[in-house]
Amino acid sequence: MRPLPLLLAAIFLPATLACGDDQVSLAGGGQLRGTINDLSAEGAITMLPRVASGPIVIPRDAINMVKFAETAPEPEAHPSLVRLRNGDSLPCEVLALDSANLRIRTWYSGEHTIPRTAVAAMFLGMRPERPVFSGPDDLANWSENSGWRLEDNALVCADRGTIRRDLKLPENYILKFRLAWEGPPNIVIDFAETTGKPKGPDYYRFTLNPGGADLKRSKAGNRFTPSLYNSGPVPTLIAAGEAEFEFRVNRQAREVHVFIDGRWAKRAIDASSPELPTGTGITIQCQGNNQGQQMIKNIEVFEWDAMSQSHREEGPGAGNSDSIINSDNERFSGTLREIAGTGPKASVVLENPHFAEGRMTIPRTAVSAVYLTGPEPSLPEGKSMSLRLRSSGLLTLKDSKFADKFLVCEHPLIGAMRIDRRALDSLSITTTVASEKP
């Protein structure tokens, strides 16, 4: 049972974090921003809040979460992710694996040797989500504008208006944006539409109004498919006055994933035609509500490594053997003998009596995911800290403290670690308790 990622996913961070500030969210309610000077071995934080006259000490029990300021860009993006048996994960470079140990290298914590029994999976050759668009930027880069204006990096419309742009949506993509509204929302966003004039008939139509959020696909003849996603009326969403929407589109798998405010809402299979809409543009329509402005901001497009994502979600499968999934979406089971070599000669060796010569050697560059069998680990009891890394990593730590520009800590499966402060995203307190079986 590994509920840790879910617990952390439930923690929200304000979008308006002041640049350069660390932020402490207090267990008793409230939050402060400033500079964290120290983290003691007992877990107490010494902080200089911007609003206090001197440093303060916050005991570990009073801390809900610490969000670290982003002081410098990460020097390296690792191509692999190792998932441990306690649910932790580390972005890293995999150096080697044998029957006893996995060796990895990270820019933020150097090299580590991890017992093979502690490793649950490895995801190799991940492509980082390449940013394609971030906007809305200059209004002049948009077209067919009627009624929209740019205000504080947001497109704002007071009544009715339309605006278009080619966002260069890649093959598989993540499209996310933040909508805000005064009064009831009434906004329509068409994406994956052709950029010519007039636009083609095949695109996705996202609608937000007091009836809820809805996603349909447009077809020829001004017709639409049944809803791929429909939230139904959600008064709390409408009342919030703003929300972030994210669509992850995998054209090969014909899947559209919908997220609202960072929470996964639905994975929709678009089976209405063999191909998903191939257009790369977006049209934003404000349909007016006679009560106030509506706006869209933080529009972002990323290239989505949908296949790696899919492989990461596949899991170890049935049976008590290791598994390998390659980039052709094939899956093989057996005993993973080793990962060895460097560069183009690096390979993954899987043993299975059904293979010719009892083993199969696959170039490492062709391997997408590796799942290893092993015993369920025993989790340490008591309070621990969950450290989220900037690059999707998550570590459960004990006895953490700051030393110079590093977090010095003990990981229950990896051992002693010295983590570069630039890699830290957030730290939250988790309590693990044991109870008798019923």
Partner: protein, 454 residues
């Protein structure tokens, strides 16, 4: 061994009982705890506020200049006496207290939270004599019953807030003649009804009068004990009133004035009578024990400053206009409006010992204070003195909606000391206030001030 994880939310629950106040800063920062005292700040800066919280190992000194607001948990007061007044100051502030004295230079209000407050008479804009201050039915979550328990009504501080369809009801005792009032704010078209003089049916509100407020009209229906509409004389009590207040505004003070002996009910919006009804078979006040607010799906509303007070039955006085403006045209004159609607022009006026001694052109009159309704304050000649804005000014809000602005000079032992040109130096009980806005002269902080959530 079965294992499970608990988040730090457990710790949050453990600490939640201790804090009594929340201190808000810019950039969405806030802390909970207890204000302790003021101490010397950095050179050239306002004093720091020392704050005690279980979140911090030691008391923390916060910079006053960085503060937006302090929200407190005020204790309800039950002032005694008969000569209560609503005093309005020339900076827009207002507060309630017992009118104990008035002479050529000062107006004295006796309060439960600061003793006698002596105001400079030329800085008093208006003085309205009120009946015994209404009992504030401040929403406290445990006293209200919410249906459904989540997703519609909830108590947030001294506000009832709803996001959807549901009811919020409360048990209370109705006087025979009463004045029930509350502030109502809404978004996107009002669809609201309030059930008053209702009775208790298996823990739920039943019977009573249901006042329906829609965007362009208001009407009242009478419910039988089982919740059904009474058929006698139709479902409606009296006519439907067409009005524009609900469509043109997004907040107002709504008051229901009722006499359970005669069946008379009047609706006042922002102090103006907009409709009257009479029920030929009134519901006796002793048969009623519940009040209920209801909202429809998708409706966002906030109800606050709910008050219930006895009413003297004076229907004519409900619609008497404030003569302040008229008095301002003849500054030498001072007019008094009595509860029966009489208007007296005073040459001199002195208040003390529960009476107003009025010298008129026709002779001297001695009137008990409780017989007064409005004392119009003549405007001083020339430029009226307005209080100077000072560094360290705070604006303190009472739970009844009143407020007072002063320079924060000291805070310790649950007391707050302030200075204003209007009343000099005074010491207030900190728990008399619902919130204290800090740095009110700093306009740059205005956009960041915490707003009440819907």
């Amino acid at each position: 061994m079965k294992r499970f994880l608990l988040t730090a939310l457990l710790a949050q629950g453990a600490l939640a009982a201790a804090p009594q106040a929340t201190l808000y800063f810019a950039d969405e920062q806030n802390v909970q705890g207890t204000p302790s005292h003021l101490q010397k700040g950095a050179p050239g800066e306002l004093p720091d506020l020392v704050w005690i919280s279980p979140s911090f190992k030691d008391p923390v000194a916060f910079k006053q200049a960085k503060m937006l607001e302090m929200r407190l948990a005020p204790e309800p007061s039950d002032p005694q006496g008969t000569s209560f007044a609503l005093l309005t100051l020339n900076n827009g502030d207002s507060l309630r207290g017992e009118l104990s004295a008035m002479d050529d230079s000062t107006v004295t209000l006796r309060t439960t939270y600061a003793g006698d407050l002596k105001f400079r008479r030329e800085m008093v804009d208006g003085l309205r004599i009120i009946q015994r201050p209404a009992v504030l039915v401040a929403p406290k979550g445990s006293e209200w019953k919410f249906e459904p328990s989540e997703g519609a009504w909830s108590a947030q501080g001294n506000n009832l807030v709803t996001q959807g369809q549901g009811n919020a009801s409360l048990a209370l005792e109705y006087p025979e003649r009463f004045r029930l009032g509350f502030d109502l704010e809404w978004k996107s078209g009002l669809r609201f009804h309030v059930l008053f003089l209702a009775n208790q049916e298996q823990g739920e509100a039943g019977g009573g009068y249901d006042l329906y407020c829609q965007e362009r009209y208001v009407y009242m229906r009478k419910r039988e004990g089982n919740g059904a509409i009474r058929a006698q004389g139709g479902a409606f009590i009296g006519p439907t009133a067409n009005l524009t207040d609900f469509s043109e505004k997004d907040k107002l003070r709504l008051e229901l004035v009722a006499d359970t002996r005669s069946g008379y009910v009047a609706l006042l919006l922002d102090g103006r009578t907009v409709q009257e009804w009479t029920d030929p078979t009134p519901i006796p006040h002793h048969a009623a024990s519940r009040l209920q607010f209801s909202s429809e799906d998708g409706q966002q509303m906030r109800v606050s400053r709910i008050t219930l007070s006895p009413w003297d039955g004076n229907i004519e006085a409900l619609s008497i206009e404030d003569p302040t403006r008229k008095a301002a045209d003849s500054p030498d004159a001072q007019q008094l409006v009595l509860r029966n609607g009489d208007v007296i022009t005073a040459q001199t006026l002195k208040i003390g010992d529960g009476h107003a001694e009025v010298k008129t052109a026709h002779g001297a009159i001695k009137v008990p204070i409780q017989r007064l309704r409005i004392v119009a304050m003549p405007k001083p000649a020339g430029n009226p003195p307005t209080p100077k804005k000072m560094l360290g000014d705070v604006r303190a809000w009472f739970p009844d909606g009143g407020r007072i602005t002063f320079r924060l000079d000291d805070l310790k032992d649950g007391k707050i000391t302030g200075f204003s040109q209007q009343f000099g130096t005074a010491e207030f009980d900190l728990n008399a206030f619902e919130r204290i806005e800090m740095n009110v002269g700093n306009l740059e902080l205005e956009p960041q001030r915490p707003k009440l959530s819907w």
